[in-house]
Amino acid sequence: MSISASVLNFDLKKTAVSNRLKGLWRMMSGFRWHYLGATLSLGVAALAKTSTYLLLSYFVDHYFGNGTRPVALPLIALGFVGLAMVEGGFSFLSGRLTAQTAEGITRRLRNYLFDHIQHLTYTYHDKTQTGELIQRCTSDVDAVRRFFADQAIGVGRIILLFTINFVAILNLHPRLGLVSIIAVPFVVVTSAFFFRRVSKAYQAFQEQDAILTTTLQENLSGVRVVKAFARQAFEKEKFERENWEKFLRGKKLTRMHSLFWPASDILCGAQLMVGYIVGALMVIHGEITIGTFLAYLGLVGWIIWPMRNLGRLIVQTSTGMVSFGRVSDIIKQEREPLDEGETLPAADLRGELTFENVGFHYEEGSPVLQEISFHCRPGQAVALLGSTGSGKTTLVNLLPRFYEYTSGRILLDGVELKRYSRRYLRQQIGIVEQEPFLFSRTIKENITYGVGRDVPQAEIEAAAKAAAIHDVILAFPDGYDTLVGEKGVTLSGGQKQRVAIARTLLKNPRILILDDSTSSVDTETEAEIRDALDTLMRNRTTFIIAHRIQSIMNADLILVLDKGRVVQRGVHEELVAQDGIYRQIYEIQTRIEAELEKEITNAS
């Protein structure tokens, strides 16, 4: 049951074609023989079933009629068991092969999507909703799985059963064959018609279910508001209304189901009746034997009853195709090549950066950054000051090539940035956000996340100590093995940031990006974070995204950004001497203290 690596690593990009059937066919690559085997096994199983009825016919004719008895009874009995074994064995085999195909395809698809999504560009993730992506990766993928596991093979099974049994009946007697398929088209059409409508009614039912869930959820999360306004009765009535509507829609769905089954029962029953009459008269007139008649009765059942399901399967297959289309939409997206770029530089990166007239825009005509030019030497700290939307974050995101600048050029150690591979750059750059994203793993795993090597415990602890988080971690129930997030401890913003600092210390990047744009209210942790950041910044070219002056007064270069342009530049002393935003911010501090003094004097 092991699957070869070449099958697992098949590039699913090839399945993203406009013709969905073609795409699904390509999706099966590496599993086609399995699936063919599954189908053939079904055929053998169906043949065995048909043979059982033929054996029955033989048995009845020879033991109940006046014929000779060339085959001994025990052999016939064994024959029944033997045929059942063949039938069971092959349908089991078919089940196994189908599962291998469906589960194998799904596994490959899941892996591919997971890897594909993490390689898609920043821009794609900016404009795509997380929930939507997850939905496609889970329920739509499952719909594709069901397509292979139940629906496609189910349709195949019904067709095989029909063909084999129809041919068998034709062989019994051509007239019987012809009368046994009169109802087939009616049954298929009725069931397809019904299930189309049922799936519509089901959708309406589901929509109401979503509304009801929202009502409930809003009520529960707003329980304080409900109580504060004493609106319990109002809420009960509101819920009752939606609840009743769901009941009505459920009733409608039930009505459709309860109409379909008896209606198709009548159709199938009528078919059996016709067969009965024709067959029975043929026996009485001596055209066929009673054994043949019994075999016919058995076989015709296997033609007609499965047909009831064909309509349902066809409708379901079409939803499977829609899901496949939605998955394809993701696969179609272009990946961001990690390793595209010149070979790595021989020596270590120094971290010298030059921006020359750099510009960036997502869409033509609305520039986010314009004419950004500056130069910084290795180990220097560059501070970016500006309001939200001024372009600070976009500017630093150009460095790891999360976005590609659209004009000008950036030189890193004298080489154009685009000539370094993304992987290399990202390995050289460390990012510490204001409230970093941590994974639901242990603290230890979070600290070593992305380091790419086995880190000894002592080294982890050293980094944690330098980041002033070691003591906090030890206070947790499981120390470094404490889980972070929903199932474990919840860390405060400052604690998360210090974990990220420890992580970055271990990574030991040449270039550092610090996001310090909002101030944390808690003054004690602020001092600790500041110390940790100072440790981190030593000997690294650092970009600080800031909103306040305190954190950037010592920077080697301060850039004040406004609407994507540099409006002021220089060191603190120079900027304070100039007229401009920077001095305004600086003066505010003095003004605040003066105001406070005045306040307190007034009060006293």
Partner: protein, 610 residues
Amino acid sequence: MPPDYTEEEEFEAKYTGKTFRRIVGLLRPHWKMVLSFLALIAVVSGIDALFTYLSKLIIDRGIMAGDTSELYRLLSYYGGMIVLQAIFVFGFIYAVGVLGERVRYDLRQKMFNHLQDLSLSYYSRTPVGWIMARVTSDSDRVSDLVSWGILDLVWATTNILTSVGFMFYINWRLALIVMLMVPIVTFVAIEFRRRILKQFRVVRKINSKITGSYNENITGVRVVKALVREEENAKEFAELTGDMYKAAYRAAWLSALFLPSVQLIAAVALGTIAWYGGWQAGLGGVTVGGIQAFISYVTFMMWPIQDAARIFAEMQHAIASAERIFSLTDAVPEVADRENAIDPGTIQGDIEFEHVTFYYEDNIPVLKDFNLKVKRGETIALVGPTGGGKSTIVNLACRFYEPKEGVIRIGGTDYTQFTLHAIQSRIGVVLQTPHLFSGSVRENIRYGRLDATDAEIEEAAKLAGAHDFIIKFDKGYDEPVGEGGNNLSVGQKQLISLTRAILARPEIFVMDEATSSVDTLTEALIQRGMERLMQGRTSFVIAHRLSTIKRASRILVIEDGQIAEMGTHQELLRLRGKYYTLYTRQFRHQMEEVLDPFAGAAESAPVPAD
């Protein structure tokens, strides 16, 4: 919050009998429907067995006897029965389906109504996700049990009984042979089902892990990229899908083996019947029709027997669901009206906390022997560190909780002598994070007073300063606010929740000021709206804004469940104590925000600390 499966397991075995009786009790109001569907299902499965017997007669008396008129007579019965059966089938599917939907409706409504009466303490210890799962999936499971579950059970039983009956009637020796197979099939079925269910549980568990991985990797994609973790993540994920493949594959082939195994046992039965029947045929003991009938009965009997194992497994699950539902509906509200509680008509008057002690579940006191006297019309500002007890004081004042020790008096009367409705319908509350319901702006404001006219709503919105931005919406007051008010900005939500409180014309006003910053203009609007609300009303404000604090008649610095400092702004500043430190820090912080040149209009921005 996906439920933990091991936790669900444990729930299963306990009190099953009693729970089962309570579940059946859910059907009592619909007993007519239950009886009719039980009758229908018995008839349907009886007719099913009769079909087979009729076929036997057709073969033996019609075909084998060569009696055409008898053949036609029997066939016309057959046709009539098809039609009759269709009618009954329609009836029972409809009855069962509607019954199921109805029980579902009942359960949801019962739970929801009970939830409205439960106290806040219940909500603080029960995650919303847990409650949601009870109202949605558990009610589905239980109603499926009482409708389709009972149907399956009754159908299986009657089917087996009637089949066995006919078999014994046709030939008791053959029937005995078949009966030998029944325990074997049952045993095999139960063993298979157990393994398959276990395997599917494993599949579901891994599946939720896979969803979790997707979720985390997509939300954290920027970190993944920054740390170049792509390869390692893909490798880890591939391990997960590898496990999934193994588990799902095993579940699938177990299922694929199940049916053939049962069929094989049936085939052994068939073989034996053929053997014995063929031997008897020579002696004239068994007819062709008889053999045919036996084959049919054996085939049809196998279905319900192998299905029974599934039904029982589902029943166990449903009973566990029912226990959780009952645990919800059995929860007793901790804060409820006392006997003879009255509505005094008004709750204006002094509010007194007398030796109030309060603790939540953990028995660690949040308030200790707390005393406070608030005069009618006073504005009390509560300041102090998080967890100090500010919210608890407010929650007690609103009677969301009641004191564990001590008394709270309104106008001199212990407030537990009043009805909850009397108090809460006269208190206006504005929460820190405003909560809006899906619906229009108008509907959300009207939540404050249900019989308010449109004019009154606009009036209130003007007072709160919300009118101007509301009329700028495409649909004005009919603009939908989106789920949870997501179409609106934080500031707009705050203004609407303020309007809602103004419209309610409360006698006591309670506000938990938002900490999140909004733009200066909105901030000023909110301040003005609040002022209007507090005018002449006894107000409690958990304050963060300097202007609010300064305007209060009295400021309480709450620390460790006690009043650390109390007085007016000036008195407390002079004290140079805790309030002083708190105030100066807040002052610097707020001024920085206000004077931020990036926020635009820096020079002209009014200093709210007027």
